[in-house]
Amino acid sequence: MAALSLLDWALDGLLALLLLWLAWRTLSTPALFQAVVLFIGFGLVLALVWARLYALDVALAEMAIGAGVTGALLLAALVRLEPPIGRGRHPARDDEQDDNG
């Protein structure tokens, strides 16, 4: 029992640290494409945290809307940014960047 609760604590602590680290990386990374990918990863870990809190409805919504659709919307917005900001390495812009990079 004690070992089980220790495992729970370790898991929760790991998730919390991972969440904070992902949040920090998302905000501090200069490349917007990486930031969006990190944001999606952040959303997925956050969904796991909600699941650990037994808030399965919120976990599902976070996974589908927070990570999935918002991530897709951010990527779509990134494609539309002119000129490409922050070395966005999405395939649509690769040929342009190859010229000057």
């Binding site: 200069p30 809307i65 659709v69 070395r87 690769d94």
Partner: protein, 246 residues
């Protein structure tokens, strides 16, 4: 795929590049050291305050869980979250749907859609949706149905449908002609329309009030609303992704 090896492929290789790219944010040079220290101090204070607030919360947390459990039988569903979202707090959910619709109107008023893919989709992206889309639609229907007695519901199911739309759009599948004009607008409107119409219609019942579902009909009303809401949410999210009027 065909990237030169020295492009910023790894996580940290981007840093030397940022002087070259005009728009990139020089994350670590924006503020002088003193201002950053002050900011860190402020953030630390904020964190401490929040931590104290969280630690001083009463245990068990006060809430309406007991009241919800007490009236769950009259809500028409067995899952408390769905009961709150679609019955006890139907107003909030209705207005959330309106917010989504307004967001779509806002995006549509900015310009026309430019299509999803900036380049031709590869063979994987062309074929994958044929396998995934039917499965995702099935899972969306399951999530909607299971929402009556377990975690799930219209928003989760709708965002899965939106994912199907995004996937099809990315893989270059054109919208069928019949679905392009009024049908698309009608589908986006359906959730708010059905919710609002039913919410007003129950006033006509004996001792009815707006959005107060009679217990005998509640299950069917909620399922109808959720079905319409799921379709609308899916259509709206996919349409938001295309980024403009069709």
């Amino acid at each position: 795929m065909a990237e030169p090896p020295n492009k910023d492929g790894g996580g940290r290789r981007t840093v030397p590049d940022r002087t070259k790219t005009p728009g990139s944010v020089p994350a670590h040079r924006a503020l002088p050291a003193a201002a950053r220290a002050l900011l860190a101090l402020l953030m630390l204070g904020l964190f401490g305050g929040l931590a104290m607030a969280v630690l001083s919360l009463s245990e068990p947390a006060p809430g309406l869980a007991a009241a919800v459990a007490e009236h769950l039988a009259a809500s028409g569903v067995d899952h408390p979250v769905t009961a709150v979202l679609l019955n006890f707090r139907g107003y909030d959910t209705l207005l959330e749907m309106v917010v989504l619709l307004l967001a779509l109107v806002g995006v549509w008023s900015v310009g026309r859609a430019r299509g999803c893919a900036g380049h031709a989709p590869g063979p994987l992206l062309r074929q994958l949706p044929r396998l995934l889309a039917p499965l995702m639609v099935l899972v969306a229907g399951y999530l909607l149905w299971v929402g009556a007695h377990a975690p799930g519901g219209a928003f989760q199911a709708g965002s899965l449908l939106g994912g199907v739309g995004i996937l099809l759009c990315l893989s270059g599948q054109p919208l069928p002609r019949w679905a392009d004009g009024p049908v698309l607008r009608l589908a986006a409107l359906l959730g708010v329309a059905v919710f609002a119409l039913l919410g007003v219609a129950v006033v006509l019942l004996p001792d009815g009030a707006p959005l107060a579902w009679p217990p005998a009909l509640a299950k069917h009303l909620i399922l109808t609303i959720e079905l319409a809401a799921m379709l609308s949410i899916g259509v709206i999210l996919a349409a938001l992704f295309t980024g403009g009027r069709p």
